[in-house]
């Protein structure tokens, strides 16, 4: 079956099914209990999808181009028709309607409300907070400085421990090194999948897991960041390995060097600088993340932030905000200079 036909049908049936679902919700106005019946909802949505599929099929058959068709149609068909201005076509209409509907639903879903934004009591509360933050209480500065030092070290340790692991794994996750035999390829696929899953789980979640495992504090934060860093660094490192020049590899192989020597002498020199660059970048990110991790018990300045905001001690929070901002800005600048210099 034609691949374009499948893609178009899936796309259109989702769009039409979605529009029908919205119409149904608006028309029927179900209660929350009724909405919680997932089985029933799924059946209805499935029905709408099928109806959408039928609509797409009928429209395209009778010559009216749907949005799916105009996106997925093979290029050679495009040249056969004279183009009408997009707003006069059915697919253009389909696009506009879908967009407007989605914005309206989005406003509803996110409880967007201009009234809330400009609510007077809300504004006053916010002003109080801002006042507190902008007149920081520097009496807690010594504690804040100690805390930010702890944060920087958490980030440093997480990065440094992640680097050797990521370095080794990056070769195993590089397609050009692992595709030599079938075992290599299987290992590569497994590692890549694990890496993607680890990266998808936010460091925040890992921090919660680790704070239960090793207790609340900087160790949990460091472990969480380390895990996340290994996954991210491995991905970035392996992408560099996949881009190396083949020539020097051939040159070293021709001297009779074994695989390890070949990788060490022909691949590693090509990847050292980009690796360092990514590592510095990672440390920078980890410092930022470490401040947030503290909110779930990961130690460092995040912990302090959590404490003081819980007490609504806004001037103290203001001080912490200043300390964090200055630190992140300094690290950012230093990291940019270093990475520029070692290019």
């Amino acid at each position: 079956m034609n691949a374009n036909l499948i893609k178009r049908s899936i796309f259109d049936s989702i769009i039409f099914g979605y529009l029908l679902s919205v119409a149904a919700v608006v028309a029927i106005a179900p209660t929350e209990d009724q909405m919680l019946n997932l089985d029933k909802l799924s059946i209805y949505f499935g029905l709408f999808l099928l109806v959408g599929l039928a609509i797409s099929f009928l429209l395209n058959k009778s010559g009216i181009k749907t949005l799916g068709e105009s996106i997925f149609e093979p290029p050679h068909k495009k040249t056969k028709v004279i183009k009408k201005p997009w707003y006069k076509t059915f697919s253009g209409l389909q696009l506009i309607i879908t967009f407007i509907v989605t914005v309206v639903v989005g406003v509803n879903q996110t409880n967007f409300s201009f009234r809330e934004l400009f609510d007077e009591s809300g504004l006053l509360g916010a002003m109080r907070l801002l006042e507190g933050i902008t007149s920081p209480d520097f009496s807690i500065l010594p504690r804040a400085v100690l805390a930010i030092i702890e944060t920087i070290f958490i980030a440093f340790m997480a990065t440094m421990l992640a680097v050797p692991l990521a370095f080794l794994l990056s070769f195993l996750c590089a397609k050009n090194i692992m595709d030599k035999n079938i075992f290599g390829f299987i290992l590569y696929s497994i590692l890549r999948t694990i890496q993607n899953i680890t990266r998808s789980v936010e460091a925040l979640v890992w921090a919660i897991i680790f704070s239960i495992w090793v207790g609340i504090g900087p160790f949990a934060g460091m472990l969480a960041l380390m895990l996340h860093s290994v996954a991210s660094l491995t991905k970035q490192y392996s992408e560099i390995v996949e881009c190396v020049d083949d020539g020097p590899i051939e040159g070293i192989q021709a001297t009779g060097a074994n695989s390890l020597q070949t990788v060490w002498f022909s691949v590693v020199p090509q990847i050292v600088l980009p690796y360092i660059s990514f590592t510095i970048y990672r440390w920078d990110i980890n410092v930022r993340m470490a401040t947030i991790i503290g909110l779930v018990g990961g130690g460092g300045i995040g912990n302090l932030l959590f404490q003081y905001q819980g007490q609504a001690a806004w001037p103290a929070v203001g001080c912490l905000v200043v300390v964090i901002a200055v630190t992140v800005w300094l690290m950012d600048t230093a990291s940019a200079y270093l990475r520029e210099a070692i290019k």
């Binding site: 020539g247 020097p248 051939e250 040159g251 070293i252 192989q253 021709a254 001297t255 009779g256 060097a257 074994n258 390890l260 020597q261 060490w264 002498f265 022909s266 020199p269 090509q270 050292v272």
Partner: protein
């Protein structure tokens, strides 16, 4: 039969190579190479010259046929031990030099001794005094020892190729393969590099198999020529014997010679 085997450093019989995508690069090529020869392979781009060379040191495994090096047959694909033994005796230089750009010239040349240095020692940069001396001698032979501490990416093309030759020499090879060594160089540098190859061949007695494009170079340097066309051997003989008729046969009708002075 034994006498012939003693004289031939390399013997290729019915060599074929078909790539996984179906391209037939070599279709049954056979020839012998005597010790001390300067053999040149000519032919159009895509005629199989590069594949041919790479099958000799098994950078590319051959599909079928026999390769006999110094009396021993090389299986394909070969085990690592055999490959190591083979490659330490066969040096290779390439069109694009294939140096490690970020390492110094000296470091690059020392890499020629990787085949006989233990893995851990080599990775720590510990090479034997003998090997260091060999590397230095090789650098002196190609006249580039004053650049020993320069980074490889600071050299010109001709200098890089000379470093590549030095690296191959450090291996102490009996056979040197050269895959279009001067194709990326200007005419004057061409001759400098080819002269060094000739020096290596005559002074050190190393057999050379070289892919070249320009007939004028072939006439100047080759002791014997073979020509490939479409993966088949179409000519074998002395360079001076290539007349216009043979030239058209090798390169196709309407081809005319480009002279490089």
């Amino acid at each position: 039969m034994d006498q012939k085997a003693n004289n031939n450093i390399l013997s290729v019989k019915d060599l074929t190579k078909t790539y996984p995508n179906g391209t037939q690069a070599l279709k049954g090529v056979s020839f012998d190479v005597k010790k001390g020869e300067f053999l040149v392979i000519i032919g159009l781009s895509g005629s199989g010259k590069s594949t041919m060379l790479r099958c000799i040191n098994q950078l590319i495994p051959s599909t079928s046929g026999e390769i006999t090096f110094q009396g021993k047959q090389i299986p394909s694909p070969a085990k690592n031990k055999i490959l190591k033994k083979l490659r330490t005796k066969v040096g290779m230089i390439f069109q694009h030099f294939n140096l490690v750009e970020r390492h110094t010239v000296m470091s690059n040349v020392l890499m020629g001794s990787l085949g006989r240095t233990k893995t851990f020692k080599s990775m720590m940069g510990i090479f034997s005094e003998q090997d260091k001396q060999k590397a230095l001698n090789a650098l002196k032979l190609v006249g580039i020892e004053d650049k020993a501490l320069f980074r490889a990416d600071q050299l010109s093309g001709g200098q890089k190729q000379r470093v590549a030759i030095a690296r191959a020499l450090t291996q102490n090879p009996d056979l040197l393969l050269a895959d279009e060594p001067v194709a990326s160089l200007d005419p004057a540098t061409c001759h400098t590099v080819m002269d060094y190859l000739k020096k290596v061949n005559e002074e050190l007695g190393i057999t050379i198999i070289c892919n070249l494009h320009f007939l004028s170079l072939v006439r100047q340097y080759a002791s014997r020529v073979i020509a490939l066309k479409d993966g088949k051997l179409v000519y074998e003989g002395k360079p001076s014997d290539i007349n216009e008729q043979w030239f058209e046969k090798i390169y196709g009708e309407g081809a005319s010679e480009v002279h490089i002075n």
